[in-house]
Point group: C2
Chain length 370, copies 2
């Protein structure tokens, strides 16, 4: 990988939450997806995300926002982060509160920098495409836009949202940056294929770049109470009053996603741009996606290959995470996930339905397994 | 169950060998099928076999023949057997040596009794049919026949051998006893169906009754060296010379099945009879058979039902033997067998192919799992 020059004035925000329910029993409430090495690379998804971002921000330029339950694990996985670079939420309040908190704290600390928000549990290839998207995104963000990254779709996926691109912004240093005409949540396959045929659509991966002050200004206009609460918390964050102010304000904050709070209304008003993300990307939303990420021989294995024997099981995903030998015989596209206390046996076709199994365990009171 | 009167002069021989390879990883070389409770009854197959036989022979009337590797486990499972009622083979020499040894030892001890040979790893219902078959079999055996039990077939199974019945023996105390016209090994389904349509065929379950002296006389004629060796061993068995004689003779004994050594040639000469076995019987040859034995709700479970969650998995067999919770999602007829060191995932359709998986493990040097 070529060495990457930092982008001046860029800070990265990594919201690290979300259980990854469809990856149960690999992902658990206590050990969610972002804390796991799902690619066999030796680095967890969170570590991989920070590895990708630090060269672009320079040292000290990445802030992780996580829940109190995962703070210790996050800090342990990221010794390169300073004490102040992990922001801990007392309780989950969805992505707007997490990212808004980071933006407000960074404005207090550093003034009006550009922040990029990147999920902690996505996989991106190691080529130059990601850095190029970020560089163009920063240029467009400096112009006052909320800038999403539009991923070049590899097919008419029904698992992702889509962004519709409009005319170029005409920025010399961000030639790929374009206006956004709108967002669509997960479409059906026919609609997705029609989108891609126009050449105007890309996947919306939920990454965005924006001047911190622009984000806060949008928030002040669209969700004034949430904005006021976050600013008050941020003002106290690096003081002895943090706990007291958090206790008083955090529980009452509105839980809303960035998409609903900012991206959609601002896009409708013409304030969102998109830069091209020409790289391989996946959010590993389920075991079907995980399988496709892993090299396949007789089976796609995450873990110790020597623990797996697959016979007539083409396309199977096997995670031998319980220490035992796993034999899969005559079940093509099987998904077998073995852990010390729970075993899942299903097939690729049912990857999305894993959530239903987790719901059934919860309904049965088996919360210790979740 | 009504109390059962012993049959005078009957001794039962239970050869307890065979790994049950198609039931791996439940059945292992070190813990073979006959030592396992495969029905959830609380009794192992061996214990169930002896429970069924002791009322017919009376106390002290059952002899188990097993290998040195399993002697301790057999004795521990059968405290009701006397020290001399477990005959231990130094090494496997197939069923003729095992049963011939028992016959020769019993002749030394008790003279010319009738012996019945019954596998240690079959399942039979608890109704009166089994005792009735044995009673008729003893009557026919006293007349000098080798008497097999012909099981009433519940369908054209391709997993079992068939016996063709001829004319009645005309015995007043064994009205169902008939001559045997011949045996067929596992036929294809069409052939099996044609057999059953004639009304002349039954399943050959490998059980037989015969006067011990008649068996030894057949053996002396058909396999004289094997006969001589077994007689020499038997003469030394209850003396201080047992170990010395076993060391000298056992390793050189011919390994041959009772079917090949005795049943087939004697049948060809008209010396085999059959009595009707009108009871439910299964040899639990594979996981398909095991599944059919177990009650089914969402899945057929051998073990702790509370450890299993089956969704859209009709007909699945789940053995939660590793202590963990097992979730099966969307795999009808799945076979999931979890043990502390090995996990098998397959489907009912591949039940017979489990042997191939075991062969592959052996080829890979994973003998500690076998």
């Amino acid at each position: 990988m070529p060495s990457i020059a930092p982008v001046p004035g860029l800070r990265a925000v990594v919201p690290a939450g979300g259980a990854g329910t469809r990856l149960w029993p690999l992902s658990r409430a206590g050990a969610p997806k972002f804390l796991l090495d799902l690619t066999g690379s030796g680095r967890t998804l969170l570590q991989g995300t920070v590895d990708r971002l630090l060269p672009l921000t320079g040292p000290g330029g990445v802030v992780v926002v996580t829940g109190v339950r995962h703070e210790a694990a996050v800090r342990a996985q990221l010794p390169e982060l300073g004490a102040g670079d992990v922001l801990t939420e007392p309780s989950p309040r969805d992505s707007m509160a997490a990212i808004g908190l980071a933006a407000a704290v960074l404005v207090e600390r550093e003034g009006d920098i550009v922040i990029g928000s990147f999920a902690a549990d996505h996989v991106i290839d190691t080529g130059p495409g990601f850095a190029d998207a970020v560089r163009q995104g920063v240029v467009a963000a400096r112009e006052g836009h909320v800038v999403t990254v539009g991923i070049a779709a590899s097919g008419p996926s029904t698992a992702f949202g889509y962004v519709r691109m409009g005319p170029s912004l005409g920025l010399a240093d961000a030639p790929g940056a374009r206006h956004v005409l709108g967002f669509t949540e997960k479409p059906d396959e026919q609609t997705a294929a029609a989108y891609l045929a126009t050449g105007e659509y890309r996947w919306n991966a939920g990454m965005f770049l924006v001047r911190a002050q622009v984000l806060l200004d949008h928030l002040a206009r669209l969700q004034p109470e949430l904005h006021a609460g976050l600013r008050e918390i941020a003002a106290a964050w690096d003081t002895g009053r943090r706990a007291q102010v958090l206790d008083a304000i955090w529980p009452g904050l509105l839980a809303i996603s960035v998409d609903h709070a900012i991206a959609e209304p601002v896009a409708a008003a013409g304030g969102v741009a998109v830069v091209p993300g020409d790289f391989d990307w996946d959010d590993i939303g389920d075991f079907a996606a995980l399988r496709d990420l892993l090299p396949g021989g007789d089976a796609h294995v995450l873990g110790d290959l020597a623990k797996v024997l697959a016979i007539a099981a083409d396309g199977a995903l096997v995670v031998p995470g319980g220490g035992r030998t796993v034999v899969v015989l005559g079940v093509p596209d099987a998904v077998v996930v073995d852990t010390p206390d729970a075993l899942l046996v299903t097939t690729r076709e049912h990857a999305q339905a894993v959530k239903a199994a987790v719901d059934a365990l919860r309904a049965a009171g088996r919360t210790e397994l979740l």
